[in-house]
């Protein structure tokens, strides 16, 4: 088994109202060093071993997990724990 870790983030230049609100809250708490926050998504996929795993995950990201119009994605493939 493999453990795939997918990170999805908003593209540069795409407004992130949620990130702005989080940044505002952090600043309110006194963390004035925080100049920008971008909120993204993190997914873990447990998948069967497959020679094409990288290409397949890429297709999954483009078709469903991320929206290429507004989001970027990156992923890593690690050894998964056999359950």
């Amino acid at each position: 088994m493999k453990l795939v870790k997918v990170h999805i983030t908003l593209k540069e230049g795409v407004l992130d109202p949620q990130g702005k609100a989080v940044q505002g809250s952090l600043n309110t708490l006194g963390y004035n060093n925080v100049k920008e926050v971008r909120v993204g998504k993190y997914l873990e996929l447990t998948v069967n071993d497959d020679a094409n795993i990288e290409a397949e995950i890429e297709a999954m990201c483009n078709k469903l997990l991320a929206n290429p119009v507004i989001e970027n994605y990156k992923f890593t493939v690690e050894e998964g724990v056999v359950q």
Binding site: L15, D16, P17, Q18, L64, N67, V69, I70
Partner: protein
């Protein structure tokens, strides 16, 4: 004229859409469960608002992978009019039938109130009964209605006159005040405001009715002999 209203798990404006077509407009309409729907033989397809699949992942993303979208693409290619409202618009975006994507409203709030829209393009089968520049009052009800597209896409939308409705006072941060856009072919319209909730005076506005009347008029001109 026969309308299909596609019902997804989590659709909640399906009955309003049915009411607009059936009662307000006075035409035939069927509500079709997305798994069993056969879109063949309908004169127009309505994708209602709501929260299909609880807006999981992104609004409209899960619905856009269902088999019904394959049928939607076929009907769109054939030129059948397709109207997606609110979540229906989001599904059209996620399935690539319209360009762009939705972001969370810039004020992060779910907003539910009437907005003034400007009819930018009345040269479409959905808007022919409006005047160009006409201001209409139609309610919005959304959390993710902040339309986004890149500059190249926006330029194309403008060039092809694909921006159909804009907000008079942009409530959500949408690029170029966009409230509704149409595909290049001119038969697929997506809009965040709800025309089906503004089809009779008792609902505070009947400005949405003309949209359905435009669809009917266009269909009659095309398909009914002697009309």
């Amino acid at each position: 004229m026969k309308f299909a209203v596609i019902v997804f798990p989590g659709s909640n404006c399906d009955r309003d859409m049915y009411y607009a077509a059936k009662d307000a407009l006075g035409e035939d309409a069927d509500m079709l469960w997305y798994q069993e729907a056969n879109l063949e033989g309908y004169d127009a397809i309505l994708i209602p608002g709501g929260f299909s699949y609880g807006d999981y992942l992104r609004s409209g993303a899960i619905a856009s992978t269902s088999d019904i979208v394959v049928q939607l693409r076929e009907q769109a290619d054939k030129g059948v009019p397709i109207l997606g409202v609110c979540n229906g618009f989001q599904i059209l975006l996620e399935s690539g039938l319209l360009p762009g994507a939705m972001l969370r409203n810039k004020n992060l709030k779910f907003m539910c109130h009437f907005e003034n829209l400007i009819v930018e393009n009345n040269d479409s089968l959905f808007t022919s009964k409006y005047q160009k520049g006409e201001v209409v009052s139609i309610p919005i009800a959304h959390h993710d209605g902040n339309y986004y597209c890149d500059d190249a896409t926006l330029a194309r939308l403008k060039e092809n006159n694909q921006i159909v409705f804009t907000y008079e006072n942009n409530p959500n941060g949408s690029v170029a005040d966009i409230a509704g856009i149409i595909n290049e072919q001119g038969n697929v319209l997506g809009m965040m405001p709800h025309p089906e909730r503004a089809v009779e005076a008792i609902l505070n506005s009947d400005d949405g009715l003309k949209l359905f009347q435009s669809m009917l008029e266009n269909w009659r001109e095309r398909y009914v002999a002697g009309a």
